[in-house]
């Protein structure tokens, strides 16, 4: 029919959605509040680490990665180092930008109007995910810059190129990690009609994984590979291996392992290392390439977990009736 022949420029729907969502996020109270809270905590962690680094510096004289220690050591009165702290709190970021992605539109009554525009339905969820990831990326970059700036100011040490490269790679991993939580929260927002229940489920999952996962994994490993009284080294090792494998289902473990290897160049293994294996090993730094090789499985695991959650959110959303 002639009326349809006048086709307009094909609009990339997801870009429009992402642009609008990102603008909303950056101006939203939640972004500013989270930035201030995380910024203060991160600055605190690094500030105290900088005081503690003097002791480390004497041991690690000549260590080429002194700057990175800012991110990995903790000192009184802060109980966490910067990266542990990000590992623990960053999920909040992902959840904050995802928990009401779809059900929020439903609640406001904007979803039917949005999908009635000439965009594909997946543009909505893709755009929202991209916007969420961008907001998170911006936030993390800001935090790292604040921390790095404080470190340079307080310690007067300048990071080397290798250290900067490690930080950049770590940032990518951290964004991926938060991306997992974003995808998970988005999935919750598709499945649960109320934003409050979606936030609750996402936060509960995060707390369970963060606080009780280790305990659960220990229990399950004890069942799969029991360690009887007076068992030999092999049995104990087997138990430990099972426990480790199980714990790697959790994105938190994956993030922790990847971070350790990336921010501490001396790390040469992220698994179980026996004393025999360490015998006569020479303590030295790995190159970034070697460290990356070490954590490649963890990174792939994080990507896979994020993808599973996103695909679940995507498929559920595509099959849902628009009408609540």
């Amino acid at each position: 029919m002639t009326t349809v022949a006048e086709v307009r420029q094909p609009s990339h729907g997801w870009k429009v959605v992402a642009g609008k969502e990102l603008a909303d996020y950056l101006l939203s109270a939640r972004f500013i509040v989270l930035l201030v809270i995380l910024g203060l905590a991160a600055a605190g962690a690094v500030y105290t680490a900088a005081s503690g680094i003097r002791d480390v510096a004497t041991q690690a004289s000549g260590s080429p990665a002194l700057f990175l220690r800012l991110f990995t050591i903790s000192a009184d009165p802060m109980p966490f180092s910067f990266f542990v702290f990000i590992g623990f709190l960053a999920p909040i970021l992902g959840i904050a930008f995802g928990f009401d992605a779809v059900n929020g539109e439903r609640a406001q009554g904007t979803l039917p109007r949005l999908v009635a525009q000439p965009i594909h339905r997946d543009d909505v969820i893709n755009g929202k995910f991209v916007a969420g990831l961008s907001a998170i990326g911006l936030m993390l970059i800001t935090l790292v810059l604040i921390v790095a700036g404080l470190g340079i100011f307080r310690l007067g040490i300048v990071p080397s190129v290798a250290e900067v490269a490690r930080l950049v790679v770590w940032l990518i991993v951290a964004v991926l990690y938060v991306g997992f939580w974003l995808a998970f929260a988005t999935w919750c927002s598709v499945m649960l009609r109320r934003a409050s229940s979606s936030a609750l489920v996402a936060i509960a999952t995060w707390l369970v994984l963060a606080l009780f996962a280790a305990l659960l994994v220990q229990l399950i490993a004890g069942v799969i590979a029991p360690v009887p009284e007076g068992a030999g080294g092999d049995v104990i090792l087997h138990n430990a291996q099972v426990e480790q494998t199980l714990s790697r289902i959790s994105p938190i473990t994956l993030y922790d392992e990847a971070t350790t290897a990336l921010l501490d160049p001396e790390t040469r293994a992220v698994g179980i290392v026996t004393i025999q294996q360490l015998d006569r090993a020479i303590v030295s730094d790995l190159s970034l390439g070697q460290s990356l090789l070490l954590v490649w499985p963890q990174v792939v695991g994080l990507v896979a977990l994020t993808e599973i959650c996103f695909v679940a959110a995507y498929v559920t959303f595509m099959r849902q009736e628009i009408r609540a």
Binding site: Q108, T110, P112, A116
Partner: protein
């Protein structure tokens, strides 16, 4: 289907498990026509509309909008169809104008074009002054008008309006209806609107379909639907002795049936007549010194028609 038919459904059916929301709907809406889909809540109006837009997949049957299948070519259909959803909502933190701008961008309009269209649309719905206030501060009626403006931004060939007069004050309803009528008359826009308020929409609709429990039980021009079998029902209020009144009423030539409607005032009568003989009836009553305090011809507005059809449907169901 002729070339000027813009919306066609054939045997359109939607089932949710056991429930049949839309049952073999056959509909044709001509270009430039205002078609009203009338029915109670839960009749399947919104489900039908979602299928027309490709937002819900039909279980069975065929849909063509501007000659296209909305399930296969949703983008081409949505490009030319403006949609005002039931209970329309907007982003509270954005102004009305910003909300419309988002719609314009989603439609691939460039900035100059969209500003121009948005200004025109806001004027048309009477929201000139409120355009720069956050949508969160709007009243329900204003949101409804903003929804109409939102559908106008893409300069649609077809407008699908789900309960367009809902929550608008009576004066606003008149304005909105006038706007809908002028869209059809001046721009040749095809309008399909759904409503459960018949008296409101019968003035603007060229044709209406009465939709109950997923089925279209009647369709035609409002006046066609009113005059179904040539008989006229007159409602009459008369003071006086009831037996005497009944005797007089039965004596009027042309009156075939006299009854007292249950549940209404004692002195109210329903007369079925072969033609419009109200003057004769009134004259006969007054000639006997009885007072007539109320006369109304029933079946003249769609509400009565709708009730008649609706009661038939219910009765039909009970007998099963």
């Amino acid at each position: 289907m002729t070339a000027s038919t813009t919306i066609v459904t054939e045997g359109l059916t939607k089932r949710y498990g056991e429930l049949t929301a839309v049952d073999h709907l056959d509909l044709e809406v001509e270009k430039g026509e205002v078609f009203g889909l009338l029915g109670p809540n839960g009749a399947g109006k919104t489900t039908t509309i979602l299928m027309l837009l490709g937002l819900s997949e039909p279980t069975d049957g065929k849909v063509r909008v501007v000659g296209l299948d909305p399930t296969r070519k949703p983008l081409d259909v949505k490009r030319v169809v403006g949609y005002l959803p039931d209970n329309v909502g907007f982003y509270d933190s954005l102004t009305g104008r910003q909300n419309l701008r988002y719609t314009a961008r989603l439609n691939g309009l460039d900035k100059g074009m969209s500003d121009q269209r948005i200004a025109a649309a806001l004027t048309e719905v009477g929201l000139d002054d409120a355009g720069d206030a956050p949508a969160g501060t709007y009243s329900r009626g204003m949101l409804q008008r903003l929804g109409l403006a939102d559908a106008l931004v893409k300069d649609p060939h077809i407008m699908i309006l789900d309960e367009p007069t809902m929550a608008i004050d009576p004066e606003g309803v008149t304005e909105v209806l006038r706007l809908i009528r002028s869209l059809a008359d001046e721009r040749g826009v095809t309008v399909l609107l759904s409503s459960h308020l018949l008296n409101q929409v019968q003035t603007v609709c060229d044709r209406v379909g009465i939709f109950v429990k997923g089925r279209l039980i009647a369709m035609g021009r409002p006046d066609q639907l009113v005059a179904s079998d040539g008989t006229v029902t007159v409602e009459l209020g008369v003071n006086g002795d009831m037996d005497q009144v009944e005797q007089v009423l039965r004596g009027v030539p042309g009156v075939t049936e006299v009854e007292r409607p249950s549940g209404k005032s004692d002195r109210l009568w329903h007369l079925t007549t072969q033609a419009d003989i109200i003057p004769a009836i009134v004259h006969a009553v007054v000639a006997r010194d009885m007072l007539v305090w109320h006369v109304r011809r029933l079946g003249t507005d769609l509400a009565d028609v709708y009730h008649r059809y609706f009661e038939q449907e219910v009765g039909h169901d009970d007998s099963r």
